[in-house]
């Protein structure tokens, strides 16, 4: 009986350890978006995003603090937070999903897709993002480029301003993961 108990505790500890050992977290991250419109191009970068990636299962999640998008003009940042993203109400954008199409034993760039739920401005959508993964010793690099239609996430553009802001923005994401 004691042996069974020991075995039980041992396996539990081991399994927890194993699960954790497969988990990677971001040591550096950059998410930027670019909106290209007739009057003014708008771009912003966020380096405060956190992400966890479970290599064994493919589960991935990231959380973007909206207020940390930095713009060239401080008025743009104010409008972005105040008028478009309503940051006080919706402080974060998140993604939770699964990455498929990779093998962690390969070291070249691998084209992968991540399917899951993307939440922006309080609106959750099922999305499939394509990107690439590159495994190297002790480090994983993830990249993705995708488009977001503002209307999908109920981000309204005032009529007077429509020509100032593109209805679709291009988002580029670069994460570097290390094991937890």
């Amino acid at each position: 009986m004691t042996i069974v108990k020991l075995f039980l505790i041992g396996s539990l500890v081991t399994s927890t350890f194993l699960v954790n050992a497969q988990k990677y977290t971001t040591v550096s991250s950059s998410i930027s978006f670019f909106s290209d419109a007739a009057i003014e191009d708008i771009k912003a970068e966020n380096t405060k995003t956190l992400s966890i990636f479970n290599v064994a299962t493919g589960d991935v999640a990231f959380s973007i603090p909206i207020k940390d998008f930095e713009f060239e003009k401080s008025l743009m940042k104010e409008h972005f937070n105040e008028k478009y993203m309503e940051t006080e109400k919706y402080p974060k954008a998140t993604f939770q999903g699964k990455v498929t199409g990779y093998s962690s034993s390969l070291t070249e760039d691998q084209i992968v897709t991540a399917t899951g739920k993307l939440t922006i401005h309080g609106v959750t959508k099922d999305v499939t993002l394509s990107g690439s993964l590159k495994f190297s010793e002790e480090k994983i690099e993830a990249k993705s480029l995708f488009k977001i239609a503002l209307a999908d996430y109920k981000i309204k553009i005032p009529q007077l301003l429509w020509q100032n802001i593109a209805e679709e923005v291009e988002v580029s994401l670069n994460f570097i993961y290390k094991p937890i």
Partner: protein, 296 residues
């Protein structure tokens, strides 16, 4: 057997948790931070007077303000639109907290220069603070009347006045902000029969956002030490802020016509409730002269 079963259950449960709650894990690992409140008001002016807002570093604001004649003058004067007083001004953000500005108002042909500094900033999060406090100080020179037109031997010193103000504001919600303005005005030379050199006032003002780009504003200054013989009124104003990109349009109505502190705080000649209301507007355009530095 039961033990083995529960062992498997527990293991799967643990694995299940590990798979499902990555976002929860992220939340736990996030550092707790504090945030400064931004955009308590749309602009640096509420109606006639100042707000706690300063320009960000490297931003230049061009302010063009108009006050028409009295609505009560009727159709002959097109409800005041036939007359207009103008203030043209510039304000620049030396740092994110320190601003400098100057302007000229056609009322009494007054030139003014000022500094404002954000002393305290409203903050929420780990560290929190309930209000923002900005100090404002200006000096204004009225260049009218000309020396030869004055009824006494007027010197430059006689033309100068100073204003010191503490602007204390709280953004209660994203749609509602309130501001208190204890104010001190010193005029070098006054008509002692109707007013004193040092005058105190307490202002209160606020804004309510009605949409993402439109807000209703109001402002009232109560003068504290007013002699009984003083013919002037407390200034009161209401306005609508409309924001589009780098512009803010403020449509206002007020019993004050002057746009420097001395003029609208201590020399408002009209009675709001007798219909002696001046329509007007402030238009501001912000230019970013220096690009913001990125964090990394």
């Amino acid at each position: 057997m039961k033990i083995v079963l529960s062992f498997f259950l527990v293991t799967f449960y643990t694995l299940g948790i590990a798979q499902d709650d990555l976002l929860g894990e992220l939340e736990k690992s996030e550092k707790l931070t504090s945030e400064f409140t931004t955009a308590t008001f749309k602009g640096t002016r509420l109606i006639n007077g100042q707000t706690i807002e300063t320009k960000s570093k490297g931003e230049l604001e061009f302010i063009f303000a108009h006050r028409f004649g009295k609505v009560s003058d009727g159709i002959y004067e097109l409800f005041g639109l036939d007359q207009a007083f103008v203030r043209v001004g510039l304000e620049y953000g030396l740092t994110d907290r320190l601003g400098v500005g100057f302007g000229r108002n056609s009322v009494d042909k007054t030139m003014d220069g000022y500094l404002r500094y954000k002393l305290l900033r409203q903050q929420s999060g780990v560290k929190s603070f309930p209000v923002s406090v900005t100090g404002f100080g200006n000096m204004a020179v009225r260049t009218s009347p000309r020396k030869e037109d004055a009824d006494f031997d007027i010197t430059l010193e006689d033309r100068i006045s100073y204003t010191g103000q503490l602007l204390i504001a709280r953004k209660f919600t994203s749609g509602f902000s309130l501001q208190l303005m204890p104010t001190f005005v010193h005029k070098n030379t006054v008509d002692g029969s109707i007013e004193t050199n040092d005058q105190f006032a307490l202002g209160i003002g606020g804004r309510i956002k009605v949409s993402r780009s439109i807000a209703l504003t109001s402002e009232y200054y109560y003068r504290i030490n007013v002699p009984e013989s003083n013919p002037y009124y407390n200034s009161l104003g209401f306005g609508i802020d409309i924001e589009t990109g780098g512009h803010v349009f403020q449509l206002v109505m007020s019993n004050a016509q002057g746009l420097t502190e001395r003029a609208f705080l201590t020399e408002t000649t009209d009675d709001f409730f007798a219909g002696e209301i001046h329509l007007g507007f402030n238009v501001t355009r912000t230019f970013q002269l220096k690009r913001q530095k990125r964090d990394n």
